[in-house]
């Protein structure tokens, strides 16, 4: 009986503490705002009249719009495996693509590791090639269980990249594919694959220097 009473007393105290903390937490959350960088901005804006604020908004919008590419650009949605050629906000062409598989390859001796992701962020078309020849990198030989050739000519493979290839740095390309049934899936080693007609349209629409956004 004594133990039972002691238990209920302890439970009552714990519940009371918990409720106290809850009330304190609710009270603190209800007090709006804390000191951070946004206060200084508000302070600066506080003295401005409505028309001045609107004028500043127009300037800020124009500055933001000025950051966007002024010509045609490419957007690649790696989650949905879709490539868009856009001009300002208008979509000129949408194409089903294949992007990186996210898989990992380890060299048998464990010295090197490759992660097959399509890179994210802003890039630029650095090269345009007609009838491209693939220079097979080391990982391609390792994946196939073959020895890495010493002779550079043994790395050349014709006809696997389609009719065109657009390079965007670090060995990544937008190119064609022999595996058209895998378009729309994440199966590549980081490059972006397109069907022949889409590839031709993209190749024709863009120039070297065209911006490329991947997310």
């Amino acid at each position: 009986m004594k133990h039972k009473k002691h238990f209920f007393n302890t439970l009552f105290i714990l519940v009371a503490i918990f409720l106290g903390v809850e009330i304190a937490g609710f009270y603190m959350a209800s007090r709006n705002g804390s000191g951070d960088a946004t206060q200084s901005l508000n302070g600066k804006a506080r003295g401005e009249r409505l028309d001045e604020l609107k004028a500043r908004r127009t300037v800020l919008r124009e500055r933001l719009e000025g950051l966007a590419p002024q010509a045609v650009y490419i957007v690649i949605d790696t989650a949905r495996n879709t490539l868009y050629v856009r001009n300002n906000k208008a979509v000129i062409r949408a194409a089903v693509a294949s992007s990186g598989s996210g898989n990992v390859l380890m060299e048998p001796n464990g010295l090197r590791k490759w992660v097959f992701d399509t890179p994210r962020g802003e890039y630029m078309i650095e090269s345009k090639r007609h009838h491209p020849v693939w220079i097979k990198p080391d990982w391609a030989f390792i994946e196939e269980g073959k020895a890495i050739p010493k002779n550079a000519e043994d790395r050349l493979e014709d006809g696997v990249l389609g009719d065109y290839a657009l390079g965007f740095g670090n060995g990544y390309f937008i190119h064609g594919t022999l595996y058209t049934r895998l378009l729309g899936r994440n199966v590549t080693h980081g490059c972006v694959r397109l069907a022949d007609d889409d590839l031709k349209a993209v190749y024709t629409a863009v120039d070297i220097g065209t911006k490329l956004y991947m997310y």
Binding site: V21, E65, E122
Partner: protein, 211 residues
């Protein structure tokens, strides 16, 4: 009774002043968002805007919108700030997707078709994005059936029990604490998980939160 006729006329300036002040606040908020976004948009990175007013998540770069996700429901708790920019520290989930390991081939057979890949369907829809300065965004999928609806009952209970305690805890350490819970369509939640990588910047736009 005749004097009552003047009441609406007297109220008109008050209503007008209130409307101007509301518009002023709204423009101030927009300016603050634009200032914050301008800083991030000058970099080569993809960034996110969680617009709690319009209930949208935007995937953007250079000020351009690439994807727009609709937020079905929002809960907000903590230190209010109009346009807060923070980098993603980590994505926290019970079952994070695992990358497949490629085994080098032993023969000349084409084995690409049996390759396991990491795709949108493998991404979780229930997770927490932990950003800088103790800002966390919990993402939940919209319940689609009876079981998921019943399961989702726990979220508000957990929210109102734990948030006050965490507020007090962080206040003791003199640290800010902000917690947001958003409900998205399952596929949108997965898209956000896929696209939001560690180190990326996000802006939480919470208009009307003037200090």
């Amino acid at each position: 009774m005749k004097s009552l006729r003047w009441i609406p006329i007297l109220l008109i300036p008050l209503i007008a002043i209130d409307a101007i002040s509301t518009e002023e606040d709204s423009v101030k908020d927009q300016n603050q968002l634009l200032e914050t976004e301008l800083k991030i948009a000058q970099t080569r990175h993809i960034y996110f805007i969680f617009d709690l007013k319009d209930k949208k998540v935007y995937v953007k770069a250079r000020g351009l919108v690439f994807r727009e996700l609709e937020i079905k429901k929002i809960r907000f708790w903590g230190n209010a700030s109009v346009a807060k920019a923070a980098s993603l520290i980590k994505k926290s989930t019970w079952f994070s997707p695992k990358r497949g390991m490629i085994k080098p081939r032993t023969n000349n057979k084409d084995e690409e078709f049996s390759m396991e890949t990491l795709e949108l369907k493998d991404m979780p829809a229930n997770y927490t994005l932990i950003l800088e300065e103790n800002l966390s965004i919990s993402v939940r999928p919209k319940p689609t059936d009876m079981i998921s609806s019943l399961w989702s009952i726990q979220y508000p209970a957990k929210w109102y029990l734990t948030r006050p305690v965490l507020t007090v805890w962080y206040a003791l350490w003199r640290k800010p604490f902000t917690s947001i819970e958003i409900v998205l369509e399952k596929n949108d939640a997965r898209t956000l998980y896929w696209s939001f990588l560690e180190g990326m910047k996000g802006i939480v736009f919470s208009p009307g939160s003037h200090p």
